[in-house]
Symmetry: D2
Subunit: 294 residues, 4 copies
């Protein structure tokens, strides 16, 4: 069965690697945290002692890392993936990073005949654990097809959306819409409650018409109850909104709403809500009107 | 069968009155446009020559009017509904107006022992024609129950959401979320297209995850094709955003996103898009970045 | 000497009327608060018992009222100024109200051959006391010239800026720029302080270059010291931002920054800062970032 | 007289280096463009063939570079300033870059006993030519004092505003306030003109009261005449707004107005106004309302 190197065994990477083991792949894992590597070995994977060790002999190399600097270091840096990877290898980066960093990685890969895909995911820890992630892929059709068995093992849907970097752009667009929808629902809640309206009944109406959204469907009751256990943390959404603004700058487009969403998420973080679920944007919106949120 | 006076036989009112006739009510209609009254009569209703004429003998009086000044004039003004309406009559105002105007109407009604409901609708002309409107109702449970047969004849869902004015607040919240969602989807489209991403594939991914919304589901293809036949016109959404801002002011809450949505819809109107579908907010968003929209 | 009727002897009106007395005019005052009327009489004016009483025999009628509904009632309503005012009289409304209300008053005046000016002022209570108000005037050149002695008695500068309503539009533009400048200076302060920069030194630099403004000049030290005694209250600025949005709606223009300023001032009010100076917008801006403002 | 190395002889650097020559310094210049180096030599400076050549023997090393990547390469990179600079040398970076890049440079300098100041300037090309720049300095008092003769030779005012990076933060705050003030004045103009008000007279009133600003004073007539010759180009302001957002992110503060200014400047650039003066934000604001700007 195909040999996979999996680098980055954090909250997302660990269950993804485990799901690849379950799907029958031979998975050699590496992480700075030795305990994470040991856990993968217990689950049927192999332990590597370094990036080079993991990459050695792999037909597919996968990274799942927190942010741009980690990708630059682990993939492009000294002792990194691209130092020892063999020509023809398929390299899949599941990290959510700037489109331009993905493009830089793809260019560096092309120079070594490595086949590169950017493949950020959505669905959070639960999606990773249950192998139901949505995967947004940038690269060529041929490489996408070659990666399909991997995507099938960790996700529910995978879509090729354009050339390298395109996966990141779609992920950015997704986070923009998600963050903005929370902001809108939050303002609706504040307006309803401050007006003395039955907010449960009101949101039920909204959820039944053109205002309907997955967020209204899944989150309105927890938002009305001010239950903000993550889920997806504000701090991560903050990182992602930084990517949205970078992507807009690179694409030379103006996103006034995206910019306001970024400012709102930044405010949430600055108000100490970094570890709360992103639906806690409601708290920022209500504090702005001197309500609740204590 | 119950005698109903129906005042305001425009794009929305005409089909609603017709559906009441079909449901077996005796409907006496009045409108400034004599042709509209004549059409109702052809459809089995009765023609009235004035507001007073229509109201005379009615057990339920209904109004469906364009905006606050019309309601103030037709209901509260000289020769208006409340001059001749009898104590105990049920009065349903389907107009979308400011919450405070609905409250004023309710207070004036209470002084005459009239039972008042504000009951703005969503669903547009198609919803009115097909009797599948969503109805947001402010008033008492008893009056809501009494009005239920009327709501059943013109709509699919009716929800009592609070005291008088609450129906308008929920409608306002709905329009805020709808307008804002269009803005977010528009920014996503502009970002995707400007980045060289396959926007169809990208929006498909968004529509399958936490970014999903009724608008993404129903409108993404028409937006990508720049087809903006109404549907619901920008000019009407502009009127509604004015109500959102009034409602926020009355409730003493700050709605930064709602305020930006209002500014965006105003821009669409100022750019000559008043008669286009509200999804044409995309045009404003792309023109801002110097793209398309010519 | 010219006989003037002065209606509305509040915080602004009282010192303005007194300054007219000092300038030699015969001033007959009226206010709902009898004490205010008595004080004017002590200061050399005459006391009237009603609007009609004040207007009777006046060559110039002046109003200085809190908001649109007061102007509509006192000028256009039953027992109001326009019931008894004589043709040819000069009517000056110093109130800050919507441009469209001023236009409505002007139309009603024209129907009675009354010469109408809208003349909102800036400069606050101190400006009224010291007769150094800035006066923005809408109307004809001839009427402006006729009113010049009045303006000279209460203000430092008076400018004819266009037809009826134009005075209100300029006042609205003024309040938009003032509120927005406070917001910008507030964000600069928060950025400097949170970055560990010497904010006094930093603002000194800003005040010496292209970022310079009257607000930076007069208010930076009190803002850095968080001293927010009015000056001009948030509640009044909130009223004025409502006029800005109405004026934009009437002119069919989109003002994204004006809309955000309005939302920010609304937030200040909702957070209990209604009686603080408008420079207290700083408190809202810093609370948004989880800083100070307790 | 003190030996200075001056690296980066562009639009700003060239006249600054020339002014240092005029003030009596021995200035050895380097730039990738040989013609710029030759011009400095004609003006009494010395020509260097490389960064190392310029730095060799200099008591003060100065850089004036376009953006962060240039500073990272020229100062920290291979063959860069810090490879050959001697301990104890004073290093002044006049470039406008991110605070965190300035801090990184200062840390690298400290490791080599180099005394580092970040000293971004405002005043534009005219300010550089006429030696009247405003200089915002981050570093220690002792190093600031040592650099004073240099600052006196190129600027009118220099202020020490905090530790390393603080100069950049103040510059960022300056650009935020300047960009925002243009936006506010632009909205005022659009509101006045669309309302049929005499905008010249209206802005005169604003310029005489609390709304007054250097921008209203210097730029209102050119803005009303739609004359947008730079001055300071939109493209540069766009770069600077990127720094503002980075600085806010580093300081963990939310700047909703700053974010909107950044989006507006981005829109100007996207609409093809990159080479126009930053007062051309007016064009974006009026196009938003379907006015002018063709």
């Amino acid at each position: 069965m195909t040999d996979i190197a999996f680098i980055g065994l954090g909250i997302m990477g660990a269950p993804m690697a485990r799901n690849l083991v379950r799907a029958g792949f031979t998975v050699t894992g590496y992480d700075l945290a030795a305990a994470a590597v040991a856990r993968l070995a217990e689950d049927g994977g192999k332990a590597a002692g370094s990036v080079a060790d993991a990459v050695d002999g792999a037909e597919i190399v996968i990274t799942m890392l927190p942010a741009d600097p980690h990708v630059e270091a682990v993939v492009l840096g000294e002792g990194g993936v691209f130092e020892t990877i063999k020509p023809g290898t398929l390299f899949i980066d599941f990290s959510t990073i700037k489109p331009e960093t993905s493009q830089k990685v793809a260019e560096a890969g092309a120079a070594k005949d490595v086949r590169v895909l950017d493949a950020p995911v959505s669905g959070g820890e639960a999606g990773a654990v249950n192998a139901v992630l949505s995967i947004m892929v940038g690269g060529t059709q041929a490489d996408f097809d070659a990666a399909k068995p991997v995507f099938d093992a960790v996700g529910k849907v995978a879509a090729l959306v354009g050339p390298n970097g395109a996966g990141q752009v779609v992920k950015a667009a997704n986070q923009l819409v998600v963050g903005g929808t929370y902001a809108l629902v939050a303002e609706a809640i504040v307006l309803l409650e401050a007006s003395g309206v039955d907010a449960h009944a009101g949101l039920d109406v909204l959820a039944g018409g053109l205002a309907a959204s997955r967020i209204l469907e899944l989150k309105r009751e927890s938002m009305l109850a001010r239950q903000f256990q993550p889920g997806f943390r504000i701090d991560l959404h903050h990182k992602d909104m930084g990517i949205v603004l970078d992507a807009a700058r690179q694409a030379e487009v103006s996103l006034p709403f995206g910019s306001q969403v970024a400012a709102l998420v930044q405010a949430a973080r600055a108000q100490g809500l970094g570890d709360a679920d992103h639906s806690a944007l409601l708290t920022v919106v209500e504090r702005l009107s001197g309500r609740g949120g204590n």
